[in-house]
């Protein structure tokens, strides 16, 4: 059991996502600090991947910018080690299976523990394949975050029963990216989750406005926003931190309000 539960102990949580190294790691660090200052409860840090198959165009773009800028797994580990000196809220890595696997799963996951990462979000590791990393996650006290999707139906209970840290509820079909409307019956999904576990659940994919964030926070324990944050970085580059802070503040207010 990691530090992640602390993110949910003061009521509804807001979880912003930032791609490490977009456009450079100094900017990422400043954005994280601004997000924390403005009320973020948990930070999801993306390790870029060349072919992010679960992402829409906005986060794909961030992955390309970051890799072009020269970040790699080792540099990101060092960056988190530094960041941990002044950031105490829980942080998780979001990346793709091959980034972890190619580094050596045990080496990657033990390094996560060492530098103060609390969990791993890996969209191409479904329930059936979690044995790939779960034994190491257990050994080093890292939560492997489970996804539940609008299509999960008969799988929700099975996934919820073994979930750790928090459950990532995917709001809509498709890839990441802002949507004007979210039509999935999320109340129904959350109800089944709650019948099967005490692990908190956060909703992500497609959320961008304070109104949407408020509505989602009403249903679940937390809200995850990626593309709308990353879009700010795409627009303002190195000048993003202040804009990120302002956006996080607005969403946090909507989430708790």
């Amino acid at each position: 059991m990691s530090n992640i539960k602390n993110a949910f102990k003061n009521g509804k949580a807001f979880i912003p996502f930032i791609t490490c190294g977009d456009p450079d790691l100094e900017t990422t660090a400043e954005c994280v600090r601004e997000a924390v200052k403005n009320g973020a409860d948990l930070i999801e840090l993306g390790i870029p991947f060349s072919d992010p198959t679960a992402e829409g165009p906005v986060i794909q773009g961030a992955n390309i910018r970051a890799l072009k800028g020269g970040v790699n797994t080792n540099k990101i580990f060092e960056f988190v080690r530094e960041l941990r000196k002044d950031i105490s809220i829980p942080m998780v890595f979001m990346t793709y299976a091959n980034v972890v696997f190619s580094y050596g799963a045990e080496k990657f996951i033990s390094t996560c523990q060492e530098i103060g990462i609390d969990g791993l979000v890996i969209p191409d590791i479904p329930f059936e394949e979690k044995e790939e990393f779960q034994p190491y996650c257990k050994k080093y006290g890292i939560d492997l975050i489970s996804f539940i999707a609008p299509t999960s139906e008969n799988r929700i209970a099975m996934i919820a029963k073994e979930a750790e840290g928090f459950i990532y509820i995917v709001s809509s079909l498709g890839v990441t990216g802002a949507r004007s409307e979210i039509t999935t019956d999320l109340d129904k999904i959350v109800k089944v989750v709650r019948e099967n576990t005490d692990v908190p659940c956060a909703i992500g994919f497609g959320i961008s406005t304070p109104e949407q964030a408020h509505k989602m926070a009403d249903i679940a324990d937390g809200v995850i926003i990626g593309s709308a944050v990353v879009k700010i970085l795409g627009q303002y580059g190195k000048d993003s931190p202040a804009h990120i802070g302002e956006y996080v503040g607005k969403i946090k207010q909507a989430v708790v309000g």
Binding site: D51, T53, A97, I125, P126, V170
Partner: protein
């Protein structure tokens, strides 16, 4: 050879987003039912024979054999299938399965365009909607096939992300599938991706080796010494190998695309240069850097220009049952021209990779030995590109 979770040794598996899990489970269930269903198999066989022109010929390449002066060479003529390649075998099977499952829309990725054309063809035949994703780079290399797909009533979406080639087309088709599942079947074109695709595609392509076996027994009264085929994802190769896997005296050789050479970065030879990884739903060998970023591969052949290889090939390599060799652009182009000149058969540039290896090994083998080379597709689509490779500026 597949275990319940779709593993071939350590390879295979289902490394896909949760959103798609019920879709692949539903597909697996449907396939397990229909693969033994008499009505389904009757319908599929009729499509194979009456529509796709099966069985394809096993042709004795006498001039080539004499010219090379060694082993007897037979060509398995998948290029004579309707739509001009082996791809139709898999597509007719999957489209029929999708229809039985109540799907009304097919999506597909394509590299050279052969799988896209085959999918568009099956969609037209069965009255289904069809959308094909194709790397923008490939839409330029294979403009004629883009037109063919549109003529057949499909939408073709040029994919601009990444290297704008086959791997990006696969990524985009997967993204599309996660956004629309209920009426849509992803008609994957090779023995790759998450379980059950590598098994389904292999089974539909295994008709190639089933026919080779009975045809060679009829012509020669014995099994061949070598069967070989080109390998990108590996569907025509696994189809060529499958019914010979248990015949340990038959050598199985897969010919990968070395591009400008396996000692350069401009290569797509996955088994020669890749390492174990997880991508596009499967564990297998992939061309990648030290941090697991997928490498931008290269080959003159759009159909072999893929950074991974199907999990069953990775397994056959691990256990030493199949050999994999790398053939450069130059060797493939020479073989493309050689077969055209010698036998009057213009092979697809993909298939020319296998022909090139036959040209290398046949002279070293005794005259009583037999090689079967699968000509997976015809080369009309490649003529303009090969002409340009030789410095002749023609455009379609």
């Amino acid at each position: 050879m597949t275990n319940p979770k779709g593993r071939f040794g350590v390879h295979g598996g289902q490394y896909i987003p949760e959103t798609l899990m019920n879709a692949v489970n539903e597909l697996e269930e449907a396939y397990n039912f229909y693969k033994n269903d008499e009505g389904f198999n009757r319908e599929l066989n009729e499509l194979f024979n009456e529509y796709a022109n099966r069985p394809s010929r096993l042709y004795y390449a006498e001039k080539m054999t004499k010219d090379l002066g060694g082993a007897k060479i037979y060509l398995k003529r998948e290029d004579l299938n309707h739509t001009g390649a082996h791809k139709i075998n898999n597509v007719l099977g999957q489209a029929l399965l999708a229809k039985k499952m109540g799907k009304t829309r097919l999506i597909a990725e394509t590299g050279a365009g052969q799988h896209g054309v085959a999918t568009a063809t099956a969609a037209a035949l069965m009255g289904m909607e069809c959308v094909v994703f194709m790397g923008e780079e490939d839409t330029k290399r294979q403009a004629l096939n883009v037109y063919r797909m549109k003529l057949l009533g499909s939408d073709v979406i040029p994919v601009k992300t990444g290297t704008a080639t086959l791997k990006d087309a696969v990524s985009e088709a997967m993204r599309e599938w996660t956004s629309r599942i209920s009426d849509t079947h992803y008609c994957l074109g090779s023995v790759m991706g998450p379980h059950p695709f590598p098994t389904i595609v292999r089974d539909f392509q295994s008709v190639i080796s089933k026919e080779i076996k009975s045809q060679i027994l009829e012509k020669e009264g014995r099994l061949p010494d070598v069967v070989m085929a080109c390998v990108g994802g590996g569907s025509n190769a696994i189809g060529t190998f499958y019914h010979f896997i248990e015949d340990k005296d038959v050598r199985l050789i897969g010919c990968e695309a070395a591009g400008r050479g396996i000692d350069t970065f401009e290569t797509a030879a996955t088994i020669s240069t890749g390492k174990l990884g997880i991508f596009h739903g499967m564990k297998s060998y992939f061309c990648q850097d030290e941090f697991g970023q997928i490498a931008p591969v290269y080959s003159i052949s759009a159909g072999l220009d893929y950074p991974g290889v199907g999990p069953e090939h990775a397994y056959l390599y691990d256990i030493g049952r199949a050999e994999y060799v790398a053939i450069t652009d130059d060797e493939a182009v020479n073989a493309f021209e050689y077969l055209s000149r010698t036998e009057g058969i213009i092979p697809a540039i993909e298939s020319a990779h296998a022909v090139a290896h036959a040209v290398k090994i046949a002279p070293e083998m005794d005259k009583d030995k037999i090689i079967v080379v699968t000509i997976s597709g015809r080369g009309d689509k490649d003529c303009a590109a090969i002409a340009r490779y030789r410095g002749v500026e023609i455009y379609e």
